[in-house]
Amino acid sequence: MRFEASEEQAQIRDMVRSLARKEFAPKAAQIDEEGRYPEENLKRLAELGLLGMLVPASHGGSETGTVAYAIALAEVAGGCASTAVGMAVTNMVGEGIHRFGSEEQRSRFLPALASGTVTGAFALTEPSAGSDAFGISTVALRDGDAYVLNGSKVFITNGSRAGVTIVMAVTEKEPKKRISAFLVLPGMPGFSVGKPEHKMGLKGSDTVSLSFGDCRVPKRNLLGAEGEGFPIAMTILDGGRIGIASQSVGIARAALDAATSYARERRQFGEPIASFQAIQGMLADSATELDAAELLALRAAYRKDAGAPFTREASVAKVFASEAAYRACHRSVQIFGGYGYIREYPVERHLRDIKVTSIYEGTSEIQRIIIARNLLGQGRR
């Protein structure tokens, strides 16, 4: 065991930390207030190679590996959570295409995704199929050299901006292999984007519904083999969960840092509130739980890089990190007292932002089911 970052990982961390603190954090309140997509932040990430971290250099990526990716994502999230989720999804889509795509698809999409000229989106969820992802009903019927898609998706991050969206749809009625994955591009006839959702937090991120009305997708845009869509989606989400765990840690660390400096400065009863055990206890609990969360996320990332099974580890990291991060953000608001409840300070935003981490890419309940099935010898390994 070794608990320090490699030189490259440390360099990435330092670079991203200073970027997030200097450029992203100062604008985060305004992005939240206006619900504005942080386009310029994503552009900066692209310039630094941070949108193709899981894509090989041969296809334009920076190929840093998942540990470095987890580290970078946490730093970005500490500056601006909305920017982080945009970054996470584009990286995830790049990795998915790299892993499951044909050579032609790789060269068509990966350099564009990694360089930020194209944004990625991942569309699985439907109005009546969220946790029950296998129960989706968007259909894709084969018609000559194309598939014709009909149906709709909801809550799709990056959905209105994406240059390529991985869309899960039903191709076969055969129970186990009913789903296939498609690469859908804007401008394909019959593909349209709904209006943005009005959310509690993460307001700068783009969350929209998508609909497909006789949308023709050329056969060459089938990702992986027909019928392989569900395992592809689950594999992509296993990796995605490491990203969400890291995002959680990053948001909560920002909240903890803000609360720590506030506790040092704010005086009541003639002393800094940091001198009260009640405050010390909250700070200590948050620090302890966030360290544990970070280690769980990095362990999952490490196993993924090492080619070891990591489904359970990714779910453990995601459920623990998102819930610990919620507790830490909640405590941070509490440490600010009345000032924690107003927009002038960042912690109320952190609390609104963090809640989604225990919902998307599989709710906490779903993570627990995955972990338990795995323990019971019933799940994927």
Binding site: D132, M200, G337, I342, R343, E348, T363, I369
Partner: protein, 380 residues
Amino acid sequence: MVFDLTEEQRMIQEMTRNFAQKEVLPKAAELDETGRFPEELVRQMAELGLMGVAVPEGYGGAGMDNICYAIAMEEISRACASTAVILSVNNSLACDPILKFGSEEQKKKVLVPLASGRHLGCFGLTEPGAGSDAGSQKTTAVRNGDHYVVNGTKNFITNAPQADTCILFTMTDKEKKHKGITSFILDMKTDGVTVGKNEKKMGITASATASIILEDVRIPVENRLANEGDGFKVAMHTLDGGRIGIASQAIGIARASLEDALAYAKERKQFGQPIANFQAIQWMLADMATEIDAARLLTYRAAWLKDRNVRHSKESSMAKLYASEAAMRASVKGIQIHGGYGYIKEYPAERHFRDAKITEIYEGTSEIQRLVIASALLKD
């Protein structure tokens, strides 16, 4: 022990529940979104006698007990937490101290319009440097013949922009620390009183929260509430009652979270069945319901003690502490049960969560409630 509501308590429950469901609930999302002060609802609540529930009829109130007040607060909060806090400030923080500490003349002149809802009250204790440490007041009041001259700044004052009357706390003798605090009944139209801008908040957005700036404000001696130096006692007594109101607010918000989540869980299907079939969901619902019942009993006990004029600081703090933290737990579960739909404004779950958080902060943070409870324990 009797755990039934009295006839009167049942009546007010039914009346406020109907009113809240019909008039308040349909407006709650709009109020949250726009942050508009619900003037028309305040007027309607005044007509129903809710602005001075536990104030005797002779002073313009409804002449009911404090359990009735707790019930009314819960029902209004179930529909809209912003509207409810406007109500609680008027009842607990403006009417109650005048009823307890005011002179007969003050009651006639100021309490009657407040309790009947013709006027609206606010409570000016917190300052930028004096939140939890309310005893370290910097606002000064200097006696000058038949009046006091007041200078200072209050912040986070609920109802400040709309209020006609403020129960104001000042320092008249700095040497004596909290024993040098004096309270006043301030007419908000007095020269030298300015209200700052409305704070942008995470929740209870339709309740205004603003600072009050006091520059050479002249308050006549007859508007002093209780004696010089009694202000801290007035504030603490008032908050003992206020915390019953906030506990009830928290219970109302928690109930909203539970009722909305329950309805959603029965309807929403995943894996071919209502999600209410899954133990993970059932456990959350069960915990929410259990904690709401416990919170309500703690709150009614404190209200019952208050009606009997028994010291109830510890019991009020327990009620407020437990209810506010239970509301926070319930509201986060409410979001979780809604899945992704809990995170968007189309459903009320996220509003309940944003509203619940304030109950752990105002009228004494959870840490301060624990200090009150512990110091009572350590004294016994």
